[in-house]
């Protein structure tokens, strides 16, 4: 029945289907290539590894959809982790209260970004590049480069504990993803984020409070970065001064691979999650296949560029991939 096949095909042809397919093929290939891939231990490790940057990538997705970019998420994550762990070690407060304060601190950093961008009018790239440096710098000012150790035992559950067979950070990642996806899809705020990214001038003219939405988006991004920073501190049983230094690129990458447009206005949380997991599996595969880890960044860079090319290809709606490739080379 061709009609049924047609219908199934239509259902499968949603926005993220391409990248999900890519992920499945990769997993299939890896499970054939090495028996150690498809084990509960390995998969659990991959997904936990991914969870730290994936949580930040959720906020990054919001920022990207609104037409901005947040390069300070690494700095916010690191600085919040230091602020939170310092509070735990130097005061008698409950560690989870300290973690909450650190979260609010991250939110505040995000507000600062948003204020610079939406009210003063800085370009988001420049503004967050600058504030990101400030946050990294403050980490060193606060720690002199030494890790903050001696966290309360109670706090380590957050990053190391399990609920059933699932690590706590993974559960937190899934929960946040569901919440952010819900907000994007079902609230006026979510619509406004898409609207501003799609056409900021028009958004202003239909009565959207553009600065407020933009500031909120950066604040959410800051909060999620801080949350991730705290999870990582708990996982590492200490506030590492290097926390977050390599996190910016993976968050942007996950979103872009997941189909979020750098120009704003387009993107989904599902896409970002799949993108993040795909990056995790890729890294994992490089380790399992005994490829020299020196190649890791090269491969990831190539994958990002491929993903963006595929995105262009999809936007041009060329029906014939071969014709498209021929056209590129004809130029």
């Amino acid at each position: 029945m061709p009609k049924l096949a047609d219908q199934i095909w239509k259902k499968l042809k949603f926005r993220e289907s391409g990248i999900i397919l890519a992920l499945l093929i990769m997993c299939f290939g890896l499970s054939l290539a090495t028996p150690s891939f498809l084990t509960a231990f390995n998969l659990g490790m991959v997904i936990r590894q991914v969870s730290f940057t994936a949580i930040i990538a959720l906020g990054q997705t919001l920022v990207l959809i609104s037409g901005g970019i947040d390069l300070s998420v690494g700095g916010i994550a690191g600085l919040s982790a230091i602020v939170g762990t310092l509070l735990m070690t130097s005061t008698a407060m409950d560690p989870y209260l300290c973690a909450l304060i650190a979260g609010l601190f991250g939110l505040f950093c995000g507000l600062l970004n948003g204020f610079l961008i939406a009210k003063i009018g800085l370009n988001p790239f420049i503004a967050t590049l600058g504030t990101g440096e400030v946050f990294y710098g403050l980490i060193l000012v606060l720690t002199k480069g030494y890790p903050v150790l001696g966290l309360p035992q109670k706090f380590l559950w957050l990053g190391q504990g399990m609920i059933g067979v699932v690590p706590v950070p993974v559960i937190i990642m899934i929960l946040t993803a569901v919440i952010v996806a819900y907000i994007l899809k079902n609230t006026p705020f979510g619509r406004y984020v898409y609207a501003i990214g799609g056409n900021e001038s028009a958004a202003n003219l239909v009565g959207i409070n553009v600065p407020r939405v933009k500031i909120s988006v950066f604040a959410i991004s800051g909060f999620l970065a801080a949350l991730s920073g705290m999870l990582y501190a708990s996982r590492m049983a200490g506030g590492q001064p290097t926390t977050g230094q390599t996190w910016v690129m993976p968050t942007v990458t996950a979103a872009i691979i997941g189909g979020t447009s750098l120009a704003g206005g387009e993107g989904t949380i599902l896409g970002t999650m799949v993108g993040a997991i795909l990056m995790g599996v890729l890294t994992n595969g490089i380790v399992l296949l005994n490829i020299s880890s020196y190649w890791e960044r090269v491969i990831i860079g190539v994958v990002v560029i491929l993903a963006v090319i595929i995105d262009i290809f999809r936007n041009k709606k060329e029906n014939n991939p071969l014709a498209f490739i021929k056209k590129i080379f004809a130029k």
């Binding site: 079902n186 619509r191 009565g207």
Partner: protein, 500 residues
Amino acid sequence: MKEINTKTVLEVKKISKHFPGVQALHEVSLSLREGEVHAVIGENGAGKSTLMKIIFGLLQPDAGEIYYNGRQVVIDNPITAQRLGIGIVPQELNLVPQLSVAENILLGMVPKKRFGLIDWNRMQQDAAAILETVGEVIDLKRKTAELSVAQQQIIQIARAMAFGARVLIYDEPTASLTQKETEGLFKIINSFIENKGSVFYISHRLEEILRIAHRITVLRDGCYITELDPKQTTTDEMVHYMVGREIKKAKRTARSFNTDQTPALEVNNLTRHGEFSGISFRLYPGEILGLAGLVGAGRTELVRCIFGETQPDEGSIQIYQREIDHPSPIKSIKNGIGFLPEERRKLGLFPVLSVSQNMTMSTLGKYTKWGRINQRREAVDVKKYIDELKIKTPHPRQLVKNLSGGNQQKVILARWMLTGCKILILDEPTRGIDVGAKAEIFQLLQEMVAQGYAVILISSELQEVIDYADRILIMHEGRLKGEVKGIETTQEEIMRMALS
């Protein structure tokens, strides 16, 4: 009109082009003779632009052949087209505003000295020579951004000439020109064809076409319909072939409304330095108030200020006798103003969002409970307006960028109707919209006014304002020059008042 040479310069045979969801062109054949102006007309979506883009190499046809001077050619990109001698003057000019006039004219073929340095002297000479063939005098050193639209268009023409164009495609060249500037353009076109150039001319302004064209081809829904002789045809006949049905002009009724009632909007001595000054008027419920004037008269600036996009330097705005201080779009919408901006794509639409999402963007609060949008209730309203305004879309979830101009405009109108606004400001609502959609939009406006809406209408098509506005305010260079009644006035009177 001069005797036409029978030599065919360009010929397209059985060109077809398919886009996802539409057959944009279906086996269209067309030829262009030396020294002729060949007008191509049709509603939006008829396939004119697609055909011209194929001829200029911006799109590739799915089937069909193109012949240039009798030789079959493949035009795979605009550079090939320019080498053959085909140039285009697009509707949206593509000049670099920061560069000088000379640089823009010679863009892509800048004369060079040794070491690849630009030969500025030769550049001035070359540019001057080209401008002379066009018959215009523009200071070559001026920045292009400082020029009027008409002058920028001349530069665009000059650039095509610089490439040695023998065939020029004009896409809606007069859309933002004044009457006088249009005359100037016609002079340029005439001298071009006297020199054995050939022109494809696309326009919605049918009177113009009757004046300038030697031949008229009508396209409808991607198909060739007929060829008309401008000496024998009439605008009514052209419209008839374009739409394939008779257009009923919305009937003109002199509405009576009471000027003793509370004005919906009152503007007193409104001034924004450099844009407009000392503007005072009242707008009553149930009337259409036209704003007439030449391009650059300050009409758009005035309504943007009234809507709160910009702040006035002096004067006051009152809505139902309540003074609004520091107007902003958010406040204006709350106070019941809706604004349909001039540049639909740039200021009105969210192209990558759906029809439904575009429509409800200003009224999401209505459907929201506990922070959640009730999408079922939203869909009910959207469907109601799609039916009521006859918006042609396969589905409410269709991306709005895939709709035709007229339907996009209706989506924006629906957006404002949903807000329950009382005052509607329409800035060039019919620009780039086909005849059928125009009639429908004005029909809709009449109904809205009958329900008590107060409407401000800006249009560069003077006849439109005269046909539909109750009163017309005439603006020139930022000032009000007078007021006339729509049923009593003529285009000539308005022009006289504007320029007096």
